[in-house]
Symmetry: C2
Amino acid sequence: MKYSFFAVFAFAALFNMGCKEPVSTKATDGETNAIFPKGKLGPAANFTGKAWNTDLVANDTRYNTVVGNVYFEPGARSNWHIHPAGQILIITDGVGYHQIKGQPRQTIKKGDVVKCPPNVMHWHGASPDTGLQQLYIVPNTEKGIVKWLHPVSNEEYNNSK
Amino acid sequence: MKYSFFAVFAFAALFNMGCKEPVSTKATDGETNAIFPKGKLGPAANFTGKAWNTDLVANDTRYNTVVGNVYFEPGARSNWHIHPAGQILIITDGVGYHQIKGQPRQTIKKGDVVKCPPNVMHWHGASPDTGLQQLYIVPNTEKGIVKWLHPVSNEEYNNSK
């Protein structure tokens, strides 16, 4: 009986170890424990793969700011695009990429903040194996919100330089 | 021996049940699995209890936007204050309160978005038992960022009307 009680606690400890809370700021898969609803699928005209959008703050003349959340499934990314007043990205989970035209592709992950200046071409999306949760903030919307351009090719997506 | 094996699995199942992944948008304690570092303790002149601030986007003339994260420990709250251009709060975890002067106190939780108009007195903070993680966005900073006022009394904090 003594042995069986030891086994009980050994087993229980083993199960408990396997599901400890993740370490702070460690990226997960981007989908588990999401903050916002998954939202609506972004149009194929502007995205490669599946990118899900939830509007959080609609444009108005009081705040002049648009805020939303995008969940990019693994491998999904935006087309190249331009924000006339720039954009701020807050990465809340997962792992992805951000690239400004003419600069190296950056890897971005949970806790990162990315600023893209006004009138600069950029794209963002998930890594091939892990999704990405990102809040986007478009400030000064009186200057415009977004101008969509052409898709990011597989060569551009995979090229780290 | 048969009994002891049953006990092993019953115990293991019990431990495993207690640590399932949280359901999407269900608030946790606000501190576990935080997205951002805890940051710096907010000054006692502007906060009651412990509120930890991490600056994410500093003010500049390009974005005219300030972004940061505050973790309010249970019971902690800001003083009453005014934003000349308003403020947007994005609640990423936990449970708390937001109140605009003259309006009922709102309960806010993971996934909520709160807008406070320009030049209106408000306060925000954690619930008594659960902390709050909130991103703040201050747009149009050319109009000003924040004007701090007096503390929120215990009576105001506890009064839900």
